[in-house]
């Protein structure tokens, strides 16, 4: 067996070890370990992807126990690609939010932040690579716990409340997922995905246990839908994304929910079989809720007056797009959904990180009125936000256009009853997207003579330190006494932040301009799944 086959397990174990090890490291050391770890894991995933593209997929037996007994890790093109992509987004998010961390988290807790990020990375990689349903459940829980920690590490009332709400919804979801897995284990007698697949096919052929199978698929779908904040279960999302630290918000919106969705795709393709799932009509339920989410998330975003909460609401709509693609029940819809996962991850983290640059030059206020002209005060953040907004709306050249094109394409091949609603709602949602994103872009590019300082002070989300506001000098100190806000930020002062935004913009354009090989990789990966 080639050395590459060890890489998935190796990266999971490496993340777990360095995660626990970071607890005793100094904050700077923990940061370096974190950055190196994410890079190494990303490179290993790239190696897995290249290996699988050449030699096909592989399964790795843990402890050399053969199939029905042992635990397995599986590598394929799509897994490797997803792993590498998740690592890239996480790396950029961590680098982009690094300076802001001093403002948001006490210095003594910085190494704990890196513990949580490392654990989150381990669980994401495990969700991507695992071939065992119960292992997937355990890592789903690790994912939940570390995501909850990422929300609450910034100790304000809002984040604590958001963390509790997030935790409650996640626990409901994982409870449903667990009972679904148990019922599936009960009727098939296996926990490994490929073995369950064989048993399910046998069950379908004999027609036995039809109802329990449908029930278990439904439970797993609903559980993972709750965890990834599909429409009726999204109440926790705006607070959790809007008030946590900027890196957390970027990671949570672009990676955590996507990890669950990727697990759901694996369940569809590798555990149950796509045709069987489509035959159970569960897809139609996902389809309807996806459509509602697309509209209601956008409406929520239009009504919002806080830039970060607005971006959070837009996430709900984008999750709706992904579930609508599932609900189409065709290969084309699935490919579109997976591409949208990539495009949304690249865009949403860019938006969060650009938004923080804009609020930094507006006295920390996130209200729209105070953001007037902020793109002129921080050019690079303004450019980042512009690109993110254009991509979300679906302007050619950026990734959002390709995903919308794919959705349209997939919708065109559907039966009449599904094609019409999906096309209509796609159109409505695009217009709504344009309304709130263009409103923001116009606002931040409108030149402001003078910011209404008093208003900015009243609205500013004050940090726990007693008002360390120096309006006269245009600087504000964070909880750790460092200057975190200025009236104006130039590129050369914030070179690191600027480079991160540039990387995001390039990534977005790469997804938009070179979509053919990526779409091909997704198709190859999906065909390797079964």
């Amino acid at each position: 067996m080639a050395a590459v086959c060890n890489f998935p397990l190796f990266s999971i174990v490496l993340c777990l070890i360095s995660g626990t090890g970071s607890a005793v490291l100094k904050k700077e050391a923990a940061r370096i370990v974190n950055i190196v770890l994410i890079t190494v894991c990303g490179l290993m995933s790239v190696a897995v992807m290249l290996y699988c593209a050449k030699y096909g997929s592989f399964t790795y037996m843990m402890g050399h126990f053969p199939a029905p007994w042992g635990n397995e890790v599986r590598g394929g093109v799509l897994e490797g690609f997803m792993g590498a992509f998740f690592c890239l987004i996480m790396l950029l998010s961590m680098l982009g939010g690094h300076k802001k961390l001093f403002d948001e988290v006490e210095i003594s807790k910085h190494n704990l932040y890196y513990v949580l990020v490392n654990l989150l990375l381990s669980s994401l990689i495990a969700l991507v690579y695992t071939n065992d349903l119960f292992t997937a459940y355990v890592f789903v829980e690790i994912n939940t716990i570390s995501a909850c920690g990422l929300i609450m590490i910034r100790q304000t009332g809002r984040t604590l409340e958001a963390a509790v709400r997030y935790m409650i919804m996640s626990l409901l979801g994982s409870g449903l997922l667990l009972i679904g897995i148990c019922i599936l284990y009960d009727i098939t007698g296996h926990l490994l995905m490929s073995n369950i697949r064989e048993s399910v096919e046998a069950l379908i052929a004999t027609g036995e246990y039809r109802e329990p199978l449908v029930v278990s698929v439904a439970l797993m779908c609903v559980g993972l839908a709750i965890k990834s904040a599909l429409f009726p279960f999204h109440a926790w999302l705006p607070d959790a994304y809007g008030y946590s630290t900027v890196s957390s918000a970027a990671i949570l919106s672009s990676l955590v929910s996507k990890g669950y969705i990727f697990l759901l795709i694996k369940i569809f393709y590798r555990v149950i079989g796509f045709e069987t799932v489509c035959g159970t009509k569960i897809m139609n339920v996902l389809f309807v809720f996806g459509l509602i989410a697309m509209v209601s998330g956008s409406v929520g975003a239009i009504r919002e007056n806080d830039i970060r909460r607005m971006i959070a609401y837009s996430s709900i709509a984008q999750i709706g797009y992904i579930y609508m693609g599932f609900g189409m029940g065709t290969e084309l819809g699935m490919v579109a959904s997976i591409f949208h996962i990539l495009s949304h991850a690249a865009t949403k983290s860019l938006l969060f990180i650009a938004a923080i640059g804009l609020t930094d030059v507006s006295h920390g206020s996130r209200a729209f009125l105070d953001l007037t002209g902020s793109a002129h005060r921080n050019r690079i953040a303004g450019a980042g936000f512009l690109v993110g907004a254009l991509s979300m709306v679906g302007i050619p050249l950026f990734s959002g256009f390709i995903s919308k094109l794919q959705f349209m394409d997939a919708a065109g091949s559907l039966s009449y009853s599904k094609m019409l609603p999906s096309l209509v709602v796609l159109g409505i949602s695009t217009i709504l997207n344009a309304i709130y994103f263009m409103k923001t872009v116009l606002r931040i590019y409108t030149p402001a003579e003078k910011i209404p300082v008093n208003r900015a002070m009243a609205d500013a989300p004050t940090v726990t330190a007693p008002s360390a506001f120096h309006v006269a000098t245009g600087e504000r100190k964070g909880i750790n006494g460092l200057i975190v806000e200025k009236d104006r930020i130039l590129f050369k002062e914030e070179a690191g932040y600027g480079i991160v935004i540039l990387c995001f913009i390039l990534l977005n354009m790469a997804l938009g301009l070179m979509s053919t090989p990526i779409l091909q990789a997704i198709r190859d990966g999906l065909s390797m799944f079964s």
């Binding site: 829980e141 716990i145 409650i168 409870g175």
Partner: protein
């Protein structure tokens, strides 16, 4: 359906318990009651799993002085899964309780709606 339900009454009970726990976790306002609901929900799943692994008239798969044959044991995998699940639910419960403590120290109430209401009133 009737005779099957009687035969599998324990599974039926575990599902009813799951529903009780689930609705408590979802609908209760009090955070401690929510956590209790979560524990009921998880316990019901463990009960279900343990029932699935149990085989009438066999013994627990642990070490004995005279090694029995594999045919004398119950299915050990669900037991292992239950153990893993218990570990997960203990850590989640601890996390939830610590969050509840922090919220209680800050707002002196366990009512989640009340906390949200006050946060809205503070306006941040």
């Amino acid at each position: 359906m009737g005779p099957n339900l009687l035969k599998n009454y324990a599974e039926a009970i575990s599902m009813i318990m799951f529903a009780i726990g689930f609705s408590n976790l979802l609908l209760q306002k009090n955070l401690i009651k929510k956590i209790i609901g979560f524990n009921i929900m998880d316990s019901s799943i463990y009960l279900f799993l343990a029932l699935k692994g149990y085989i009438e008239g066999r013994i627990a798969p642990i070490a004995y002085d005279t090694a029995p044959k594999a045919e004398e044991f119950i299915n050990p995998i669900p037991s292992g899964l239950v153990l893993t699940g218990i570990v997960v639910s203990v850590s989640v419960t601890a996390l939830m309780l610590s969050l509840t403590m922090r919220l209680y120290r800050r707002y002196h109430t366990l009512d989640l709606d009340e906390i949200s209401f006050r946060l809205k009133k503070e306006g941040r």
